[in-house]
Amino acid sequence: MAKITLDIFRFDEAVDDVPHRDKVVVDVPETMTVLDALETAKAEVDGSISFRRSCRSAICGSCSMNIGGVTGLACKTPCNTVMDEDFVVKVDPMPNFQPMKDLVVHMDPFWDKYARLKPYLQPKDEDSAHATERRVSPDDMKKLVDVANCVMCATCYALCPVVSVDPAFAGPAAIAYAYRFIEDVRDGQRKERIAQISEDYLWLCAHCYACSYCPKHVDPNDRIIDVKRAAIKDRVMMDERGPRHALVVTKWIKKVGMLHETELIAGTIGRFNVRGLLKVAPLGLRMAYKGKLPPVFLKPIPKVDEVRTIFDALEVPVS
């Protein structure tokens, strides 16, 4: 047993103007989960401490919160892995959400983005009588099971740095769930779904892998790449900057073996997009002033033919 101090964010939007913190000491085993420690504090010290919880076994996704600076499920986090040398565990509500009461947040933006997906199967045919079953092969199903493990705890959404500065971004969970329907052979709205998630800024993912901390190993980071590939394969919204950028990078690696910085800026923004180019011009001028502009012409790397052979063997699209 150890005396663990829970340093808890306290706030009640109904009465408080500003949040404060309470320190609650509980005498519990060091290996106890943060959720059980909170339950102990609520039962023995202060019944007003508020937090969401249900299953206590990482299945319901209710108890995601920020623990010692890292967001995750309180029921899956033992105190001894997050407490400091003075046995203090700091608990805060999930970032990227509006606090409601103590560790409870307003989840609405997260659910809104999920609802926009129309998260139910929309079959191809008009078989309203359901005369035949719709079969899925084990291989096709295998693609979907990882995402099916998502418990919508919103840990990924809370960790996402893009959401933190642009709340219009769909966020990792919604894109992973879009993948679950896009790749379902029973669904008939593949293109429409890809277009919808593209409009919700699929291509604004910053490749940061913060969502690789997913407590259920859904790894939205990989599913986001899958959806982008689906968009390029089905050629959905190809005039947008995201797909153009991916293809121009790929094209120049095939051509010269390297990332061509100058070409990929012009190619992504659009060579004739004067307004877009003017917008990056000030930074370009500052770089030019420092002698920092990347070269306009790049010599191909030695044996660039080998690179081209690889591209051809894999039939990689470059436009």
């Binding site: 892998y209 913060a210 790449i225 982008k228 900057r241 991916a246 990332l259 790397i301 990689v316």
Partner: protein, 311 residues
């Protein structure tokens, strides 16, 4: 520090024993961040290690080509590894976090699956190359700590940083995903702090140090990318940072280039950003005027003057 991943990390490579390493500078260090390439070579000279550039290597895929094709990055990097093996170099050193993360991811995919290795080698076979699976990919930061050692580095310092308050900026691809990198904790890394301390600086702790610089979406939505820079640099400045140290040229382009664009929303920070080898080489006695500091948009020489490190 060690890892149990199937990434050859557990063995001390032949390269490490002979101090001859394969060197993969990556594209940006050859294009807009040449000062990174040059200061890396100057640091290698000081450390008495040989970095042998893999001149025929291609781009690692830059975390972008995966958006187009599932296999291309893996096979391109297999070609690079085959070149390193042919030169007798089993340790490939990178100076870019994105290269590190994506080359290690490719290596992991190859080493974990015979099928994927055979698939890659079938294509490499078309031009007579073969990857045997003996390459380890590591970042220069890891080489400094594992092969040179903090104690040795400390003993080599001739120009300690005089307590300069340096904010480490890890960014993403050198620590995440943990299943690919795993050299240190992605949630609580401390290698940059250790290094800053070893060369006489004072590391600044702030939550932004493991967050994203926004580089990969600069062309998608520049104001969002600039906000990500502003947010992180605001945190660093509020914790007393005088300068930033990053192991990645992409982070460098973002932090150095976009602080000005986020100033109206996050306040002016103007924190100069050092490339990892620049600051280490400086402490080890390489003259400041050889490190390309004049190439930075936010000139780092001002803080060196303020700390009486250069006149």
């Amino acid at each position: 520090m060690s890892t149990t991943l199937p990434l050859n990390d557990h063995t001390r490579t032949h390269s490490a024993q002979t101090r001859r390493y394969g060197f993969f500078p990556g594209c940006v260090a050859k294009e807009s961040c040449k000062e990174l390439f040059n200061s890396t070579m100057l640091l290698a000279e000081k450390l008495n290690i040989e970095l042998i550039e893999l001149t025929a290597a291609s781009c690692c895929g830059a975390s972008v080509v995966n958006d187009v094709n599932r296999d291309i990055a893996r096979v391109l990097n297999a070609r690079t590894y085959a070149q390193a093996e042919a030169l007798g170099l089993d340790d490939v050193i990178t100076i870019c976090s994105t290269c590190t993360g994506h080359m290690r991811a490719a290596n992991k995919e190859l080493l974990e699956s015979e099928e994927r290795m055979d698939h890659a080698n079938a294509i490499l076979g078309k031009f007579g190359a073969k990857y045997q699976g003996n390459v380890t990919v590591r970042h220069l930061l890891w080489l400094l700590i594992d092969d040179i050692g903090l104690d040795t580095l400390r003993s080599m310092v001739v120009r300690p940083l005089n307590g300069l308050k340096v904010a480490p900026f890890y960014g993403c691809h050198i620590i995440r995903p943990e299943s690919v990198n795993g050299w240190e904790s992605a949630r609580k890394p401390h290698s940059l702090e250790d290094l800053i301390t070893a060369i006489g600086g004072e590391p600044v702790d702030y939550a932004g140090k493991t967050r994203c610089c926004g580089f990969h979406i600069q062309l998608e939505k520049d104001n969002v990318a600039a906000d990500m820079v502003g947010q992180n640099m605001r945190m660093a400045a509020d914790h007393g940072a005088e300068a930033v140290l990053t192991p990645c040229p992409l982070c460098h382009l973002a932090l150095d280039g976009y602080q000005a664009d986020s100033a109206d929303r996050w306040g002016r920070t103007d924190l100069p950003t050092f490339h990892l080898p620049q600051l280490v080489a400086f402490a080890l006695g390489v003259p400041a005027d050889r490190l390309g500091l004049n190439k930075h948009l936010i000139d780092p020489r001002d803080v060196l003057v303020a700390r009486e490190l250069v006149s």
